[in-house]
């Protein structure tokens, strides 16, 4: 059931949705009581550790584990031989695709090590110290191979080949020779040549971005326990316990029903915890040792072997008439996938020009493997990279035709009915509203001083729905327990409880939210794609309405009337026109006598996730002596559809903006000439700190999503789409130099200023 009519009357008299109550899991998180991935200890537990490749690209000739195995206190050693090899098969996983042939090789190198930090073996021992010592006793014979790190170099004929069986998908006829180009995608329509011929102004630019890490503060961690009869339990920090179960069962050759996965509290993910790294290794070690095995990643391992998102090269060309109408738009995106296919180039290509209503548009994208860690989803995967380039060019076109950049965007803004560059017509979206709010904001008119500049950029993200199950269990005292299968990464227990309380018309503290393990519900897709408040909310509303229907039936039975005569009003069954009522608590108490316990379940494929659009304003100051860029003022404006808990919507907007500030100004993977990462720590990979940023002002626009009972759109990802372009535009206006390469770190900015000054 997906076409849920929003309860119009209820919408107008919302009592809980739209307010700002304290989150139900809050006390546990401010007292240190909440249990995250690494916060669990069980009796008889072993510690697992991973041996990682020191080489960026090397054939594994042999692995001798005998000396490690013989060390006192070592209880298991595994290599790729302990995991299943699997055929190449693409499985859609939300915003990304997975391929089990690659997955089994990424969690444990098989024929070759494909990046520095690639796992090659693992041990479980009685202590961390013994496990660390055992790793030094594993002898791996490598044949070091030439490596390739740059996307353009990797695409050239004669580049070191990562996979000799990779033939570019999406090219007809199928290439005869293997290459590092995994896939070509193309979207668009119209006549580009005619469009550009009509343009008065054409801007064409090349851009480059570096890989950046999701940077969650909690490293990956898990604890696996496999019993002698093959039944297994796994506790881990993840965005999706059901996805972990599916992936691990496949890699270990188990039935999913034999594996129970419990998601711990999760210390940030941003897409980076949608895949498995340690989990199948811990299970394989535990299976061998028949004891529980705990594994955690160091921060160095997190940087070298998990995430990040793609570095990319992008080319964009946009033509427009003097009166401000875009006539044609063309883009070429080349994304690094890391060592295995699967960069987010496809979603990047799809959303590149999605904020605009275009007649002639084309986007071509390439997914390219390089000797870097395999990319994982990162908040609006692919979108920020593409829109950094597009929104920079849009800004420049506006400048060239002498039009205000917001006015130019408004003249071309996508709206309901616009055909998106990737095909379908868009439903109601809020881009125009965010642009108008930006134009009306005091920030947009505030004066600027010397060396300061203001930038504007908009951003689009699809959002997803997907497979979702949820339960509502009515307690015998009338309290309401809800169970969902989507880990709470930033306040969703609050937003989900609020919608349930609103449905029942009861106080919020009568509702208790639980994140269920994989045995407690049917399959749930993960926390990602900004889908939780949308999808789990939709499922819970359906389950709540089912419970309310049953409550009305019970009341009808007690009153000996037809169920149609019973209404549900503010937590009570009410007999129409008779003034008789029964409270939720009274109905719950007597449930045993009126038909038994009352529960509600929903199992849905949530569709109709509305795209969320945003416009960001930023003021910067550039120090002409050092090249340092300071963020002076920042305003994020976004369409939330309906902000269920506005504080946590604002939090998403603020957090995404600041992650974007890091991407724009500081963050990058730096490698030496041997392909070894030189900055795998928070000292040298510098994410924004508190003193780097100002307050992030927010404006929530609400253009309800008609496909959700409360009008909700996902809000989590869109906020990271506009910042890089907004900041680049601001820096360009402050300096008079167009910045096309990220990050705009002080040495780069200074070099560009010096070049302009002719220094």
């Amino acid at each position: 059931m997906n076409d849920m009519t929003p309860p119009k009357a209820a919408q107008q008299h919302l009592k809980i949705v739209g307010t700002r109550p304290l989150r139900p899991d809050g006390v546990d998180k401010v007292t240190g009581r909440a249990k995250f991935g690494a916060d669990i200890h069980v009796p008889n537990m072993l510690i697992g550790k991973v041996l990682r490749s020191p080489h960026a690209h090397a054939r594994i000739k042999s692995i001798d584990v005998s000396r490690a195995q013989a060390l006192k206190g070592v209880k298991a050693v595994i290599t790729s031989a302990d995991l299943c090899d699997l055929p190449s098969e693409f499985i859609p996983a939300g915003e990304m695709m997975v391929n089990f042939k690659d997955m089994t090789r990424n969690v444990m190198a098989r024929e070759k090590a494909l990046y520095e930090g690639h796992a090659v073996a693992a041990v479980a021992a009685v202590s961390e110290a013994v496990a660390a010592q055992a790793l030094t006793l594993i002898e791996v014979q490598y044949e070091v191979l030439p490596h390739v790190m740059d996307v353009a170099e990797a695409m050239q004929a004669g580049a070191p080949l990562l996979h000799d069986d990779m033939f570019t998908i999406g090219v007809e006829p199928r290439p005869a020779k293997a290459s590092n180009i995994a896939k070509r995608v193309e979207f668009g329509f119209g006549d580009l040549e005619a469009g550009f011929a009509r343009a008065d102004v054409i801007v064409e630019r090349e851009f480059a971005t570096k890989p950046v890490h999701q940077g969650y503060i909690e490293p990956h961690a898990c604890l696996a326990s496999v019993s002698e009869d093959g039944q297994a339990e796994l506790w881990c920090t993840t965005q999706g316990q059901f996805i972990v179960r599916a992936f691990c069962a496949k890699l270990l050759g188990m039935d999913v029903s034999r594996l129970r996965v419990t998601a711990s509290e999760i210390g940030g993910g941003f897409g980076g915890k949608t895949v498995v790294y340690l989990e199948p290794l811990a299970l394989a070690l535990s299976r061998k040792a028949c004891r529980p095995v705990k594994m955690t990643m160091s921060r160095t391992d997190v940087f070298r072997a998990s995430g990040p998102t793609s570095g990319a090269k992008i080319w964009v060309k946009v033509g427009a008439t003097r009166d401000g109408r875009i006539t044609a738009a063309d883009a070429l995106l080349k994304y690094q996938a890391g060592a295995f296919q699967g960069s987010p180039v496809q979603p990047g290509a799809m959303c590149a020009f999605a904020p605009y209503d275009l007649e002639n548009v084309r986007i071509v994208g390439f997914d390219v493997v390089v000797n870097r860690p395999k990319v994982a989803a990162y908040r609006a995967p692919g979108g920020p990279i593409a829109e950094f380039a597009v929104e920079s060019v849009i800004d420049e076109v506006a400048l060239r035709i002498g039009m205000d950049p917001i006015e130019f965007r408004l003249k071309n803004a996508a709206k309901e009915g616009t055909r998106a560059p990737y095909g379908p017509k868009l439903g109601p979206i809020g881009l125009v509203q965010t642009l108008e709010a930006a134009r009306a904001h005091a920030h947009y008119r505030a004066p600027l001083k010397a060396n300061q500049g203001r930038g504007v950029a908009s951003g689009f993200w699809f959002n997803i729905g997907g497979e979702t199950c949820a339960s509502i269990n009515l307690g015998e005292d009338g309290s309401v327990g809800l169970v969902v299968g989507t880990p709470d990464i930033g306040g969703s227990r609050a937003s989900l409880s609020m919608m349930v309380a609103e449905e029942f018309g009861i106080p919020l503290d009568q509702v208790h939210a639980i994140i269920g393990d994989t045995t407690s519900l049917g399959f749930n897709f993960l926390t990602g794609g900004s889908r939780v408040t949308f999808s789990s909310g939709m499922a819970l509303v359906e389950a709540a309405r089912d419970v309310i229907r049953q409550l009305r039936e019970r009341a009808a039975k007690i009153w000996e009337v037809a169920v149609e005569e019973v209404e549900w009003v503010e937590g009570h069954a009410r007999l129409s026109g008779k003034g008789k009522t029964l409270s939720l608590a009274e109905l719950a108490k007597t449930a045993g006598k009126t038909g038994g316990p009352i529960i509600g379940n929903a199992a849905i494929n949530a569709t109709g996730a509305g795209p969320s659009l945003a416009t960001h304003l930023v003021d910067v100051e550039v120090d002409p002596e050092t090249g340092k860029v300071t963020i002076l003022r920042y305003t994020a404006i976004q369409d939330a559809g309906k902000a269920v808990h506005p504080s946590y919507v604002e939090g998403q907007m603020q957090g995404g903006a600041v992650q974007g500030i890091g991407w724009a100004l500081n963050e990058e993977y730096i490698y030496d000439d041997k392909g070894r990462m030189e900055n795998p720590g928070f000292l040298d990979y510098r994410i924004p700190v508190c003193s780097d940023v100002p307050m992030i002002d927010t404006v929530i626009v609400e253009v309800p999503n008609p496909r959700h009972p409360y009008g909700v759109r996902g809000v989590g990802e869109t906020p990271i789409v506009p910042p890089m372009a907004a900041i680049a535009n601001a820096v360009s206006h402050a300096t008079g130099v167009r910045f096309t390469d990220l990050p705009m770190s002080p040495p780069r900015v200074l070099a560009a200023i010096d070049a302009q000054r002719g220094a």
């Binding site: 700002r20 401010v30 503060i217 940030g268 957090g655 928070f682 700190v689 508190c690």
Partner: protein, 158 residues
């Protein structure tokens, strides 16, 4: 080498533990005393998730050895609330929605408490620089700074 026997004070209680000489105070708190409120985000003193007070001074417990705690006073997030009553900082973090995932929260609270003990009326800039050793990837710091300033105001008027 034999484990070391250490006697120390944690959150006002006398505590004894055995530890390897190379174990950090953070390792000891988490793995020997099961006080897992202090988090390991980096083990290199860069993220502040393991912040504790040692003899009244804010430290990263990942940069202190377990044996160094001998005879000293350690205060962790687990000792911040008094019975059922949350510390004003804890309360204000909840009211301002100053946490999303919550992994950095204990470190921020311990560090912010140390600030307010030294400086009951900090400016926004002082709060930002004092907390610059604590990384948060979720919030963009806005609501954290507001919560600390609000808690400071409440504590001054208490």
């Amino acid at each position: 080498m034999a484990k070391q026997h250490v006697t120390t004070t944690v959150n006002g209680d006398t505590v004894e533990f055995l530890c390897e000489t190379e174990q950090t105070l953070l390792d000891v708190l988490r793995d020997e005393l099961y006080l897992t409120g202090s988090k390991e985000g980096c083990a290199s003193g860069d993220c502040g998730a393991c912040s504790v007070m040692l003899d009244g001074r804010l430290v990263c417990s990942c940069l202190v050895l377990g044996v160094e705690a001998a005879g000293r006073k350690v205060e962790t997030i687990e000792g911040m609330a008094r019975g059922e009553v949350l510390h004003p900082l804890q309360q204000k973090f909840l009211e301002h929605a100053a946490l999303q995932c919550g992994i950095c929260t204990p470190g921020f609270l311990v560090a912010a408490k140390a600030l307010l003990e030294k400086k009951p009326n900090p400016t926004e800039t002082e709060v930002r620089y004092w907390l610059a050793g604590n990384l948060c990837r979720c919030t963009g710091y806005d609501k954290i700074v507001r919560a600390v300033l609000d808690a400071a105001a409440v504590m001054r008027s208490a």
